[in-house]
């Protein structure tokens, strides 16, 4: 996707695509979605071997990234994962690994090897069930001796059912903090949600007076930068998945328009259809362009990284709806069927649009970033 990808990055992305096509193509994704099959741990150890989960992990813990630019490399994988609607969200694992790498204690760092290898998966619980994405959203923290007690609920936690660990954002005395909790912490429960997306599963993470030792804190309490960095990375990786899905959906629709005949011609020869396709392809190219800029800025920790990440999510979030709707329209009746893959894309995109902040949330954030 990036005009400047290196040969190593190209190989990394091609290997990822080959693996997905042979191991977990959309037909498999569909069976998992319909609960006819479950992802076994093998999928995650295999992608661990491929390095998808090791990008933000230091070498001494089995990590590394092909180009030394982990955000860009992760973006390439995210794009392929989006194209083929890969289940088992890995943004949470990658972001948790990044959090531990940047701010984790010695004890927490011991988890990095398992995260890098796909032997342990983590999810990031940031937003609340009402759709706020501030660290403080949904959870109250009370101090208790040297430790803390967490209560409340986080919403839209991606593939929480697979996670052995949760990175929970919350505010302590009004200051943002990150806690690393094992899934079996007493008082912690995962309540599966029904939802639009069939390829990722979402849950509420409910915390009922969960007692947490001080050693569970990742980084500094009030260490604003870490949470901000994680939000940027999670946002651009979600955007990259969306861009992959949007691109694939568009190509699928273009193929349909090239092949479907009506009135003695292919429908792709009618100007009304051609013009819709041109507009959709503009949305695809704009999405590519802004995602590329945002990934690069976040990789480089450029001064405008926060802004570009939010601009990308705001734009691609809206474009995702336009492209999904436009592609459904051009498919006609067949696009309205369960059997056709189109709705798997449409559902995933409408959901990814919201995860880590919907366009309206990011637009307000853009105003705040500019001091407005």
């Amino acid at each position: 996707m990036l005009p400047g990808v290196t040969a190593d990055q190209k190989l990394f992305a091609e290997t990822a695509e080959r693996f997905i096509r042979s191991t977990c193509p959309v037909s498999t994704v569909r069976r998992v979605a319909q609960r006819e099959e479950e992802l076994d741990g093998g999928y995650f150890t295999e992608i661990g071997e491929l390095g998808w989960l090791a990008l933000f992990v230091p070498e001494e813990h089995g990590g590394g990234s092909p180009s030394g630019q982990p955000v860009l490399d992760a973006g390439l994988i995210a794009e392929q994962r989006g194209r083929y609607l890969q289940p088992g969200g890995i943004v949470g694992s990658n972001v948790t690994a990044l959090a531990i790498t940047l701010g984790g204690t010695g004890e927490q760092r011991a988890l990095l090897d398992d995260l890098a290898g796909g032997k342990a998966l983590a999810a990031w619980a940031l937003g609340d069930p009402a759709g706020g994405w501030e660290a403080s959203a949904g959870v109250e923290v009370r101090r208790d001796g040297t430790g803390f007690v967490l209560s409340g609920a986080k919403g839209l936690v991606q593939d929480a059912h697979l996670a052995g660990w949760f990175l929970v954002s919350a505010a302590v005395d009004g200051r943002p903090a990150l806690f690393l909790l094992p899934a079996d912490a007493p008082g912690l429960s995962v309540e599966p949600l029904a939802g639009l997306d069939l390829t990722h599963r979402y849950a509420e993470l409910v915390l009922r007076d969960v007692a947490v030792p001080a050693s569970a804190v990742v980084g500094q309490i009030g260490g604003d930068d870490l949470g901000e960095r994680l939000l940027q990375v999670a946002t651009v990786l979600t955007v990259a998945e969306m861009v992959g899905a949007i691109g694939e959906l568009f190509v699928m629709t273009l193929e349909h328009a090239r092949n479907r005949a009506a009135f003695g011609r292919v429908i792709g020869s009618f100007q009304a259809v051609k013009h819709q396709l041109a507009d959709l392809s503009l949305a695809v190219e704009c999405s590519h362009a802004i995602a590329t800029a945002a990934l690069t800025a976040v990789q480089e920790q450029a001064p405008d990284a926060a802004e570009l990440a939010s601009v990308a999510k705001a734009f691609v979030g809206d474009a995702a709806i336009d492209v999904s709707q436009g592609c459904l329209q051009l498919h006609g009746g067949i696009g309205y069927t369960w059997e056709h893959d189109l709705h798997l894309y449409l559902r995933r995109l409408a959901t990814d649009r919201v995860v880590f902040g919907d366009p309206a949330w990011h637009r307000e954030r853009i105003c705040r970033l500019h001091g407005l």
Partner: protein, 416 residues
């Protein structure tokens, strides 16, 4: 001459910096941006003369046509040098020859560089760079706009081998202060339309040329109509082969699409203001805290950044060499579809204040003017529909429109 190495560029930067400080005035940030609308928008002869002088100074300093070939008066340097000059000169009052200044350097100059004879290029390109010749685009006619190959202005050959031009052109931006027009004319109406066309550089001071300003919806008279009555044009002013005008036209259209948005602020990465026009507007009308207004401001900012990044992305693909030459249509269609949205956002934020104001309140009319100007790039330089045709056929590879005008002679076709 500075080389292409980082050191070379740094040396160049120092030269540029010193030259700018010694030769140009700092930009006056309090000077209001020139609006495209109202009588005041038109350039006075004094202003044009003054800007030509400034342009000459930049050319003599060696900073006009930085990437243009040295043999034709350019500097023969790289895009990186041009970028250095753009960065360094940001704080200075650069020459501004208005819309026709842009058509000179972004469309007419590059087209002539690609298709003009050596003699023609040696004569005219240096003058374009020095501000001595301002060139406009004589493409559209009352009878043919999108269908550019359908123009009917006639050029007939004299016994001496020169040409006589008859017909009219329209919507010519900036013609009222220009020196030359790059003119597409029909040299043979008896062959199919794409094959009977030829380009000429027409001096607008020639006998038989009449130029009349046209009042636009925004009240100014930036574009004009021209009438050609037996205008004699030397064969030396022909650009490209006789009858091969469509080849030249295709080059021209690529430049026209890449010409970009004349109203666009220069790119500056890293420090982008949040839609400054709309923030100022929201402040004026007391709506900065209103959540709906904040959403609208951010929407405009998203549009600004996406357009900027799309252009950068297309440029990066183009530089990589393998890109489809038609990708410029994306930038054009983005501007053509998003500029109107952005203009409407202003109207929405301003509400009542956007549609009625006290006559002495000059700032208040800006929103309405921006709204009126919002669709310029949806139409000028190839309409949105033309871009969509181009994208769907030349990039997406969909079937061409059925054509009724490709094989029959032009003079047997239905036209206006």
């Amino acid at each position: 001459m500075s080389g292409q190495t980082a050191d070379g560029l740094e040396a160049y930067r120092r030269e540029v910096r010193a030259w700018l400080a010694a030769n140009l005035d700092p930009r006056d940030d309090n000077e209001p941006a020139r609006l495209r609308g109202g009588d005041a928008a038109n350039l006075s002869p004094e202003r044009v003369a003054q800007q030509r002088d400034l342009q000459r100074r930049v050319h003599e300093g060696g900073y006009a046509g930085i990437t243009w070939p040295a043999q034709f008066g350019g500097q023969g340097l790289t895009a990186a040098h041009e970028e250095v000059f753009a960065q360094e000169s940001r704080g200075y009052a650069l020459p501004d020859l208005g819309i026709a200044g842009l058509t000179t350097t972004r469309v007419c100059g590059p087209t002539i560089l690609a298709h003009g004879t050596d003699e023609f290029r040696r004569t005219h390109i240096p003058r374009m760079l020095s501000g001595e010749e301002i060139w406009v685009q004589l493409f559209s006619e009352p009878g043919a706009g999108s269908d550019l190959a359908g123009v009917s202005t006639r050029a007939t050959r004299t016994d001496a081998g020169d040409w006589v031009l008859n017909g009219s052109k329209v919507w010519t931006s900036g013609a009222y202060y220009a020196d030359y027009g790059l003119c597409l004319a029909r040299t043979d109406p008896t062959v199919p339309k794409h094959r009977g066309l030829t380009w000429f550089g027409v001096p607008l001071t020639s006998d038989g040329v009449t130029i009349r300003p046209i009042r636009e919806i925004n009240g100014s008279s930036e574009f004009c109509e021209e009438f050609f009555d037996d205008v004699v044009v030397s064969d030396a002013n022909r650009i490209g082969a006789v009858g091969d005008g469509w080849t030249v036209a295709r080059t021209m259209m690529v430049f026209e699409r890449l010409g970009g948005d004349p109203d666009e602020a220069p790119r500056h990465s890293g420090a982008r203001e949040l839609a400054p026009d709309l923030v100022a507007l929201a402040r004026r009308v007391g709506r900065l805290g209103d959540p709906v207004t904040r959403q609208l401001i951010a929407r405009a900012h998203v549009i600004d950044l996406v357009k900027e990044q799309l252009d950068a992305y297309v440029a990066a693909l183009a530089e990589s060499g393998a890109a489809n030459p038609n990708l410029g249509s994306y930038g054009k269609l983005a501007a053509g579809t998003l500029n109107p949205v952005r203009a409407s956002i202003g109207l929405e934020i301003a509400a009542a204040a956007g549609v009625a104001w006290h006559p002495q309140d000059t700032e208040a009319s800006t929103t309405a003017l921006n709204y009126l100007n919002g669709r310029i790039l949806s139409i000028a330089g190839g309409t949105n529909e033309m871009q969509r045709n181009g994208i769907s056929e030349r990039i997406l590879g969909l079937p061409r429109e059925p054509a009724h005008d490709l094989d029959r002679p032009f003079n047997e076709l239905r036209h206006n």
